[in-house]
């Protein structure tokens, strides 16, 4: 199961939540806290997007954090 670690000093928690709700129809997410990180575990990814899903998701979180 792939997972992404988002540092909470850089990425906003709200941005991660927004990204999860935007991508919720394409995969299943589980969020865990790990000190300064929010660990997002990604499961049941849409087979068409398997190769790019995590990277696209990380970019989306980055975009939302900037706003």
């Amino acid at each position: 199961m792939p997972s992404l670690k988002f540092n909470t000093k850089i990425y906003k928690k709200e941005a991660i939540q927004k990204a999860i709700s935007a991508y919720s129809h394409l995969a299943r997410f589980r969020v865990k806290d790990d000190k300064d990180y929010k660990v997002v575990e990604i499961d049941k990814v849409d087979p068409d997007l398997k190769g790019i899903f995590c990277d696209e998701f990380a970019n989306y979180v980055l975009g939302m954090s900037k706003k």
Partner: protein, 138 residues
């Protein structure tokens, strides 16, 4: 490709803005150490990139970062002036001007058709007809 930046030189807001400009061309992931002294940026091209293209992307990113850092600094320095200008503009638009002393609603109530100052009254009607032989007062 990995870029390591000193957060004392480049503020996080500038780094985020610069990264945002590149999210259509690359996958970007950011991380920092516990003290938030250095920020690591990991780049991965959306399409397969050669060494030359990667180096070019890096150069473009560093230029954009410099631009964003400068913009951030200028906006921080001019914050008070900007707020003053916007505040002043909104204040004048609200109708609460220092000159009239009237609120927006009161000013609207004063109908120009009523001519409360008597501006529309002709001179002759107000002060009588002009005499032809009248000598001007010296």
């Amino acid at each position: 490709m990995k870029i390591r930046l000193n957060s004392a030189i480049y503020p996080l807001e500038a780094i985020l803005n610069a990264c945002y400009c590149f999210i259509d061309r690359a996958y970007i992931y950011l991380d920092t150490n516990c003290k938030k002294e250095t920020i690591n940026i990991f780049f991965k091209g959306k399409s397969r990139l050669s060494e030359k293209e990667l180096s070019c992307l890096r150069g473009e990113f560093m230029n954009e970062l410099l631009h964003c850092a400068l913009r951030y600094r200028i906006s921080k320095e001019n914050k008070k002036v900007r707020e003053y200008i916007v505040g002043r503009a909104l204040y004048s638009a609200s109708g609460l001007t220092e000159d009239s002393g009237l609120s927006g609603k009161k000013a609207e109530e004063l109908d120009y058709k009523k001519d409360s100052l008597g501006i529309a009254i002709p001179w002759e009607k107000k002060y009588g007809k002009i005499r032809k032989n009248a000598k001007p007062k010296v």
